[in-house]
């Protein structure tokens, strides 16, 4: 375990990532992905094997909000004792001047799990196994100050998750107003918190509602088609469509 002291000295522009994963294989793959030359040394990775250790590292256990030298947390979802989701909530509950972005990874590509994490304030959700193309998404979610975003940084959650799932993000509303990444993030975080606290159940029904709407529309179209086919005279259908 490479957990270092809080005051990790890194060069300007290097993102300090706290990697949380109980699987030694996944930890190593993630570490190596982030420290390879193709990332141009822009990540400094600290790896821990449990959410509890992550909490200790971030000083959360003592209830203190001491300034941690971490720019981002990359955590696995499924872990024994304390899940990545619980860790995510604990980090987001911190009242810090510099909120830490959290990205959740999971081997399960489950829409409910994804929207639950995004609702809780996760900046992004990556389906494992981690690949080099996912590394750009980590950069997009950085809090490192004055970092010029390369290659047209897409908004973290919405575009990335949509691309991965070919579905529109279901719950987080667009925050058109905020233009800067941190402004947008704070905006979204605020709204996400409200949504989370007041309408967690609603968000679970939204996918169902959407499906019902689509189904109703499909039935209407089908009815229209059938009506046209049988316009030569089937009374029962024309009654229905009249």
């Amino acid at each position: 375990m490479e957990a270092g002291a809080a005051g990790v000295e890194v060069e300007e522009g290097v993102m300090r990532v706290l990697l949380v994963d109980d699987s030694p294989v996944d930890r190593r793959v993630a570490q190596l992905l982030l420290s390879s030359n193709s990332c141009a040394g822009s990540f400094h990775v600290i790896a821990v094997d449990s959410a509890k250790k992550a909490m200790e590292f971030l000083g959360l256990k003592d209830g203190g909000g001491k300034e941690q030298a971490i720019d981002m947390v990359l955590t696995d979802y499924c872990m024994p004792e304390m899940t990545g989701y619980d860790l995510l909530k604990a980090i987001k509950a911190l009242n810090s001047l510099k909120p830490i972005p959290v990205i959740v990874m999971s081997s399960e590509d489950e829409p409910q799990r994804i929207s639950r994490c995004l609702n809780a304030g996760a900046e992004d959700f990556i389906v494992k196994p981690l690949q080099s193309k996912d590394v750009q998404r980590l950069r997009n979610c950085s809090t490192a100050a004055a970092r010029p975003t390369k290659g047209g940084a897409a908004p973290c959650e919405a575009a990335a998750v949509a691309k991965r799932n070919n579905k529109p993000p279901l719950v987080l509303p667009p925050s058109a107003a905020a233009t800067s990444p941190s402004g947008r993030r704070a905006n979204l975080a605020g709204v996400a918190m409200v949504l989370h606290s007041s309408s967690v159940e609603l968000s679970q029904y939204l996918p169902l509602l959407l499906k019902l709407v689509v189904l109703a529309y499909a039935i209407l179209c089908l009815g229209e088609l059938l009506h046209r086919w049988s316009s030569g005279g089937r009374c029962s259908l024309s009654l229905w469509c009249a």
Partner: protein
Amino acid sequence: MAAAALREQLNALLSSMFASGLVDDQFQQLQMLQEDGGTPGFVAEVVTLFCDDADRIISELAALLEQPIVDFDKVDAYVHQLKGSSASVGAQKVKFTCMQFRQLCQDKNRDGCIMALAVVRNEFYDLRNKFQTMLQLEQQIQAQQ
């Protein structure tokens, strides 16, 4: 043996591993990362970690399935771990078998699980042999240079 002949052997081995579906694109990505990224021994390290991890999990599974009353939740948790690490390393066959194994766990099908474990074990041993040969060949090639 000359380095060229060794390299040919290694390439043939890797081709057959890909062709037979033993490993998938993820493994290729790891190999490419090692070549482009200047992190030598990357693949060897991950492969070794995977083999140790899988070995451990398979032993735990065997012990759990021998119990008179099987704790399918625990079995499922271990299979989930194995599925995860095989996906991360690109061990495709093992990963697919784990997926089927998980279904059998959820069905609480004890005999099915025992059979699935046997299949996973065989596939893992086969993969491990090929990995070991691959690493040996790489070392020999390195030694020649």
